[in-house]
Amino acid sequence: MSSYNYRDIFWNGFWRQNTGLAQLLGLCPILAVSTSFINGVSLAIATILVMAMSNATVSLLRNLIPYEIRIPVFILIIAALVTVLDLTMNAWLHELYLVLGIFVPLITTNCIVLARVEAYAAKNPALPSAVDGAAMGVGLMLVLAILGGTREVLGTGHLFAGIEMIIPGAQAIQVLPADYPGFLFAILPPGAFIALACLIAAKNWYEARQKHAQLQEKIGGVPAHHHS
């Protein structure tokens, strides 16, 4: 049995192939649920659970699933797991369940879940598959946390609204002055697109700089002249 580099698998899902910033998969929930930090992170946690479980399940069953009908089988497995999660959230986190609404059942149709099942779990053993699914989910959580936090602060001036749904007694924090008028645009759908575009640009800029630095190291520290 070959050994798997779990660190590499994690880094791949968390950063290199980040679902929101590099693969641009599952954008619908990313854009729709990132109106606040708590909404975004809660949906991301639900997605992490689903992705880890569905990757592990499919990986265990991968030799039993006929190749020709694999997609419907994958979807059935994912849908079953999502239903379990949906009912669990309805029972134990009812208020949060009401806020997230349709987006919990819609995790089934999130293409990042199916994409990882198809691209990774169907070809690899259970443990690395579970780690891959979870890492992709954590990458999604990173995007949803930053996006949700930014949009919430810009749009309303406070952070962690709705935290009492998860931690009873906790309260939202007022980040900006109380008379902040609230930049409603950030909460509306166009704000989501623009904020996500800025995040992608920031990631690309960071990676371009790193590449540039590596290149300079390789050619012996000669400063490159690239002024236009």
């Binding site: 008028p181 409603l184 645009f185 950030a186 509306l188 166009p190 623009i194 002024h227 236009s228």
Partner: protein, 320 residues
Amino acid sequence: MLNNSPYVRRPASVTRVMGTVLAALVPAIGAYVWQFGPAILGQLLLATLTALACEAAMLAARGKPLRLFLTDLSVVVTAWLIALAFPATAPWWLVVSGTAIAVVVAKHLYGGLGQNTFNPAMVAYAVMLVAFPALMSQWPSALPDAITSATPLDALRTGLREAGASVASVRADGSVFGSLAGRGWEWLALAYLIGGLLLIQQRIITWHIPVGFILALAAISGAFWLADSARYASPVFHLAAGGSMLGAFFIFTDPVSASTTPRGKLIYAAAAALLVYLIRVFGAYPDGVAFATLLMNILVPLIDMKTQPPVFGHKGDNKV
């Protein structure tokens, strides 16, 4: 020595074009001060300083020459259009953030001078209207004892919808309405018209877009008005109200984001007029000029592609 025709016109520099546009806005600024008070002057200064600061910051970040682009006056035109389009009663931060969005996002993130798909001033207006609808709908009053009032377009729509009144009875309110459209607004419209004619005379803009827009808006509003003059305002009202004249000569004619072919300009302007009318009369926003501009900006590549004039020497058979 005598030269024979044909003559080649030296293309106008960006600085001359923008300088003429600024000069053409001066009558409107004068009318604004006369009718609504001097608050607009502070707003113009604020928008100009913000625009220059943002422009300098973005030029520096993009490694472009500062002096060349800062002195071409294009960013000052954007700033003045924002200052004139925003209510003069708006808080300072509304103008500053709107101008910053126009210069940083709508202009430079799209590639800078000559590259912007959307009219920067109208992007600023649309973003701020969506974000702060209440602040963007309150305008200075033309009456000395009142500070703010609804715009004539808003007052007319609210009166028609909520009170079920007729156009004539709503317009009897002399504090908001004047003889043509809004009290004070009609002078502003006249001043924009004068400035716009100056632009055509100086060949900064061609006649296609203003004429197309004005004729189309008059035709559409005229049709509704003839059908039911109790519920729909007259063409004169629509031409003299809101941002019609500002749009016709200074916004829709933006050389970068507007259509460039002669036939395309007419189509662009007429479709914009239809959108302005629909948004004004059946929509919920104070005016339709900004949204009409942005929607039509998206269609410009298509319009331009379909309306290429025939290449000289061909008989119009160069299909694209």
